[in-house]
């Protein structure tokens, strides 16, 4: 059990490529922290620096209260679950689990006890005599987890462990991992590119892009108060709609305006948006917050609406995704209840509750709050 601190960590490769830039964050003791971001954002590199599999170019990484920059992987007391599981193919499941203990010269009895305990926790006892090639994907994943927990390490590192599983198994295993974390309570750094995994599993989430930490926060706050346009567009699926609008004052209220767009700005944002009056700003609204104006029930002002034409409707059973074309030709996505009778070519007015609107500075892309 230990915390992990990234103290101004940078990773630079030969040739000038910067994979991680001035990363500052603390993973709290016993926290399940998810590192999320698109491919190439530096999340795996950051995790591998904690493991010791990548050299740290600048800055320090602290595990517990030790600076680990110069410690080899085996002395850092971290255990890792690889995306490909990396189970030794020539050893049985038992031997795979026992290997780290054997290397640390743990005596046979203790080794056996710990292996069997880990196997019991993960429900893989019947598989102990098998070789990895005789296991299914889900079973291999559990053995990989077993190899990590058998060591009682301070920190768990997981590198996209669910990527190789089919959708159904992924959902199942996600729940198992969460339960495991509740049982074992080890500080965990979990890397994924899947924002659904991040949102459902993390105590806190660190969103990264192009080597830079964008925001470190709880899932709900990332959703409600994204720090910038990138985070706003990354969290939430389908992703947030962005429109270029101008802020205007009318009748003492502020409106976000564009051809075919007229949406009321909430009062609590009026002060921060003052400086954008007459200027462009980026408006963001999530698909789930776009509603048929006729069913708005006074959520928005009477003149706060967007006339749209329905382009494509995707039926998902429990909801529908609708692709709507605005007057100026831009498309936005909306998520609606399945009983909305919409088909291609239909025109209607949509709106969004003012407090659900997000605004971003067009130059810096920071959120305006």
């Amino acid at each position: 059990m230990a915390r992990v601190i990234f103290d101004n960590v940078t990773k630079r490769y030969a040739g000038g490529v910067i994979a991680v830039y001035q990363l500052n964050m603390e993973v709290l003791d016993q926290e399940f922290l998810v590192l999320v971001g698109p491919s190439g954002c530096g999340k795996s590199t950051a995790m591998r620096m904690v493991a010791g599999l990548e050299e740290i170019s600048e800055g320090r990484i602290i595990i517990g209260d030790r600076v680990v920059n110069d410690l080899p992987p085996k002395d850092r007391d971290v255990a890792m679950v690889f995306q490909s599981y990396a189970l030794y193919p020539h050893m049985t499941v038992y031997d795979n689990l026992a290997y780290p203990l054997k290397l640390r010269k743990v005596n046979k009895q203790e080794r056996d006890r710990r292996v069997r305990e880990a196997a019991r926790t993960l429900d893989i006892e019947p598989l102990l005599d098998r070789k990895p090639k005789a296991l299914s994907g889900g079973q291999r994943q559990r053995v990989a987890l077993g190899r990590a927990i058998v060591r009682n390490a301070d920190v768990f590192l997981m590198d996209e462990p669910l990527s190789n599983l089919d959708a159904k198994l992924r959902v199942q295993t996600r729940a198992e991992l969460i339960k495991l974390h509740e049982r074992v309570s080890t500080t965990t750094i979990y890397v994924t590119h899947d924002q659904v995994e991040a949102m459902t599993m993390g105590d806190r989430i660190a969103v990264m892009s192009l080597g830079v930490l964008q925001q470190l926060d709880t899932p709900q706050r990332l959703y409600d108060v994204p720090a910038n346009k990138f985070v706003a567009g990354f969290i939430g699926s389908p992703s947030m709609n962005f429109l270029d609008v101008t802020i205007e004052r009318r009748n003492g209220k502020l409106y976000a305006v564009a051809p075919g767009v007229n949406l009321e700005v909430p009062d609590f944002k009026a002060a921060s948006l003052e400086r954008f009056i007459g200027n462009k700003v980026i408006l963001g609204v999530r698909p789930e917050h776009i509603i048929d104006w006729n069913q708005a029930n006074g959520i928005a002002a009477a003149d706060s609406k967007l006339p749209v034409t329905v382009d494509v409707v995707e039926l998902l059973g429990n909801e529908i995704f609708v692709y709507l074309t605005l007057q100026d030709g831009n498309t936005i996505t909306a998520r609606m209840a399945p009983d909305a009778r919409l088909q291609r070519g239909l025109t209607l007015d949509v709106t969004a509750a003012p407090e659900k609107l997000h605004f971003f500075d067009p130059e810096t892309e920071y959120g305006v709050y």
Binding site: A51, G52, L53, P72, P73, K74, V78, A79, M80, F82, S84, A86, Y88, P89, H90, Y99, P100, L103, R104, K131, K133, R147, R151
Partner: protein
């Protein structure tokens, strides 16, 4: 469908099988037949003598000497060749990221394998020359004159001087084989092992060796079979001299046939060699069998 398949395959296979039968199988059968005769090889006059050639072989000291040399090399050649090839391959693969100039080293190490054995033999005769050879000249130049031996002329060193040349020629081939094998081992395993606490040596012992085993097995069998042959290199470098100190069974057989004109006897030696090699190969295959790994 199936019948059509064979109708296509057989015409393609037939010429190759025919050639094989004529140039490989028939000589084998011929050799076995001739081993029961006494035959000077010049005329068609053969005298049937039953198992006499084999009885003679059993008592022939010179045959025993040659066979013992093969036996010694059977142990030494695979051991040294594979160890060296492994060492060079490990250095070459060096952390999985390759060495600068890798292609150059690959060519240089592999080059001896490409040279004709006869050329290699002649080349090393010059190198081993007691006076003007580069080896002894070099040793004298750095003050190790006491190490400058008459390599090919000494009963003590001749066999091993030849063995060294055989190793020199074949290490490159096995190094390339092992490099290919090592590079196919997923990098993840080594990272997982490093985190588990494995030292470089443990990584080699617990991951590289087991996962490379198929390649090593092939190497052992090939080198072992070669160790029972070695005709060309010995014939070129020493002709088995001095006084059979560097002789091997294959060269001894050649001598019986072409120098002593005893083709029946030589055929018997050939048959014995065939049986020995065959048994050795089967034995090695069985002993080194492991489960097939998937990764």
């Amino acid at each position: 469908m199936n019948h059509g398949k064979y109708r296509l395959i057989i015409p393609f296979l037939a010429p190759a099988l025919l050639l094989y039968a004529v140039f490989v199988l028939y000589p084998y059968a011929s050799a076995v037949k001739n081993s029961f005769y006494q035959w000077r090889g010049v005329s068609a006059n053969k005298t049937y003598i039953g198992l006499d050639n084999y009885r003679r072989l059993w008592d022939d000291d010179n045959f025993r000497i040659a066979l013992s040399h093969n036996a010694q090399l059977l142990i030494v050649l695979p051991l040294v060749t594979i160890s060296l090839a492994m060492l060079f391959a490990a250095l070459f693969v060096q952390g999985g990221r390759g060495v600068r100039g890798a292609d150059f080293y690959r060519v240089v190490f592999f080059f001896p394998q490409v040279m004709s054995v006869v050329i290699v033999g002649v080349l090393w005769q010059y190198i081993y020359h007691p006076n003007s050879g580069i080896l002894n000249s070099g040793l004298r130049a750095i003050g190790l004159a006491s190490f400058a031996k008459p390599w090919l002329g000494s009963a003590q060193y001749a066999l091993w001087a030849v063995a060294a040349v055989v190793i020199w020629q074949s290490v490159g081939f096995y190094m390339v084989l092992f490099v290919a094998g090592m590079q196919s081992i997923p990098w993840d395993f080594y990272e997982a092992a490093r985190l588990d606490g494995a030292s470089r040596f443990a990584q080699f012992k617990d991951i590289t060796l087991p996962l490379l085993w198929e390649n090593i097995r092939v190497a052992i069998i090939y080198i072992a079979i070669a160790a029972l042959d070695l005709f060309t290199i010995v014939a070129v470098m020493t002709e088995g001299k001095p006084n059979r100190a560097s002789d091997v069974v294959a060269r001894f057989m050649y001598e019986q046939a072409f120098t002593n004109s005893m083709f029946g006897y030589a055929s018997a030696i050939g048959v014995v060699l065939l049986i020995l090699t065959f048994c050795l190969a089967i034995l090695l295959l069985i002993l080194s069998r492991r489960e097939r790994l998937e990764f």
